[in-house]
């Protein structure tokens, strides 16, 4: 195989990895906030259902969750889904997994804001929604940036788990080429890709943290 072909196949894998990464964040970051609200709800049933959901998501391997989401529809319900469901299954399982992690980070962040902030806002006449959006949320975002950065970096590496259901992301491609070529070069290329991806994401998050450093 030519270098150019190998690079093109790796590039396709890279694109898929970036797609998984982007779509997962796009859906799980906001979904996590809803889950966090459910986790803090006054409703006993809702609160506990969410608690169990979070504990399952955090207590079982993502790879296993991915397989359940992918094979579940057929083995449990006998539904045959098209080939394209592979990618959808990856996004679904990643989103529900990461939403659980983000929810716990959000919750810790929200609960760390002193009660006095709510009370000051209330006395000044802010509504509950205004208080959350204008007063609480900006402070929460600042506080959760470091743990969110950790999760986002973990996600980059987790995208390689999609190989278990043969979604052709970076690692899947590298593995295929490596065995066909009897060479570790594709792995090295994949490693470099993940490293640069991490580096860029870390730089973006650092920039964001700096942007939020105008207050304490």
């Amino acid at each position: 195989m030519e270098w150019s072909v190998m690079l093109r196949e790796l590039a396709e894998g890279m694109l898929t990895s970036v797609e998984i990464f982007t779509l997962t964040l796009l859906f799980s970051l906001p979904l996590g906030l809803l889950v966090a609200f459910g986790r803090m709800s006054k409703n006993f049933l809702l609160r506990n259902i969410i608690k169990i959901y979070i504990s399952i998501m955090r207590g079982t391997p993502l790879m296993l969750q991915l397989m359940v989401v992918y094979f579940g529809p057929y083995y449990i319900f006998g539904i045959r889904l098209p080939q394209s469901y592979r990618f959808t299954a990856v996004i679904i399982s990643f989103v529900i997994n990461y939403a659980a992690y983000f929810a716990e980070i959000y919750r810790a962040g929200i609960e760390s804001i002193p009660l006095g902030q709510y009370e000051a806002a209330k006395v000044l006449g802010y509504s509950n929604a205004q208080t959350f959006v204008r007063i609480i949320l900006p402070q929460v975002i600042k506080r959760i940036l470091p743990p969110v950065t950790n999760e986002v970096i973990t996600l980059i590496k987790d995208t390689s788990l999609a190989f278990v259901i043969a979604v052709s992301e970076m690692f899947t491609q590298a593995r295929a080429i490596a065995s066909a070529q009897r060479s570790v070069a594709p792995y090295v290329a994949a490693g470099i890709f993940y490293y640069i991806f991490n580096y860029v994401v870390a730089a973006v998050m650092e920039w964001f943290e700096k942007k939020m450093s105008y207050f304490r």
Binding site: Q117, A121, Q139
Partner: protein, 253 residues
């Protein structure tokens, strides 16, 4: 005119009755100081008056408008949310630990409520905010953030923030207790200036000489009741009740 009237306020936390039966009236322009040992219920009284806590029984009236009345079963009944929202604009509260919004600049802390809640134009709110900051000698801190200020400066910003909404009654809960002793003077001076402008205020304080100078009426609380009240010369200089005497003897006069 009666700006604030509290009648037979009662408040419990679980089995602990913190406010037993307190009634008080604050007239327009009056300065009321509340003194008493720690745990006597002073903060709870202020928090009930500012609706940060829900009272169990009694009545709460601002400028003749009922925020809370006594229902047929003797329990407190709150007015509709719409009415409460209007009544809430009659008062504001200055906290012991300021509770400034750390992500807002000084001027934004003072003007944000005007702009977001009262829908005032930015220019108008800015003019009011700058005016108040000048009054608090903080004009040069307009664009600073709370963490860059001393405790005394932060408390002055929080007073400006409370004044921006032009409350009829301003409550203070130990406004100097979180400050280093050398910084209390600047806050007490601001409150004295407000008293000179006939701002109606209710102040919980441990500064006895300040209470004596600034207040028209002093209330001594202990164990959730008013033990003694009257003009400062009477309550602070010449207390009649034993508990008041014991409490005041701990302060140098």
């Amino acid at each position: 005119m009666k700006y604030l009237e509290i009648r037979n306020l009662r408040k419990s936390f679980g089995n602990l009755t913190v406010i037993k039966d307190i009634s008080l009236t604050v007239e327009e322009g009056q300065v009321v100081a509340i003194i008493g040992p720690s745990g006597s219920g002073k903060s709870t009284l202020l928090r009930c008056a500012t609706m940060l806590e829900t009272m169990d029984a009694g009545e709460l009236i601002y400028l003749g408008e009922y925020a809370v009345r006594t229902g047929p079963d003797g329990k407190a009944v709150y007015a509709s949310p719409k009415d409460l929202k209007r009544i809430q604009r009659y008062y504001s509260l200055v906290f012991q630990d300021f509770n400034l919004f750390p992500h807002f600049s000084v001027i934004k802390n003072v003007t944000d409520a005007l702009i977001t809640i009262q829908k005032m134009s930015k220019e108008e709110a800015l003019a009011i905010g700058r005016d108040l900051l000048r009054k608090m000698s903080l004009s040069d801190k307009e664009n600073a953030y709370p963490y860059q200020l001393s405790g005394g400066q932060q408390q002055r910003v929080s007073i400006a923030r409370a004044l921006a909404l032009s409350p009829k009654v301003l409550f203070f809960d130990e406004p100097t207790s979180a400050l280093d002793p050398e910084l209390t003077g600047e806050i007490l001076k601001v409150i004295r200036d407000l008293a000179a402008e006939r701002m109606t205020m209710v102040i919980v304080t441990h500064e006895m000489s300040f209470a004596r100078d600034v207040a028209d009426h002093v209330i001594f609380m202990d164990g959730g009741v008013i033990v003694e009240e009257g003009p400062p010369e009477a309550v602070i200089n010449n207390p009649q009740n034993e508990r008041t005497q014991a409490f005041l003897s701990r302060f140098e006069r």
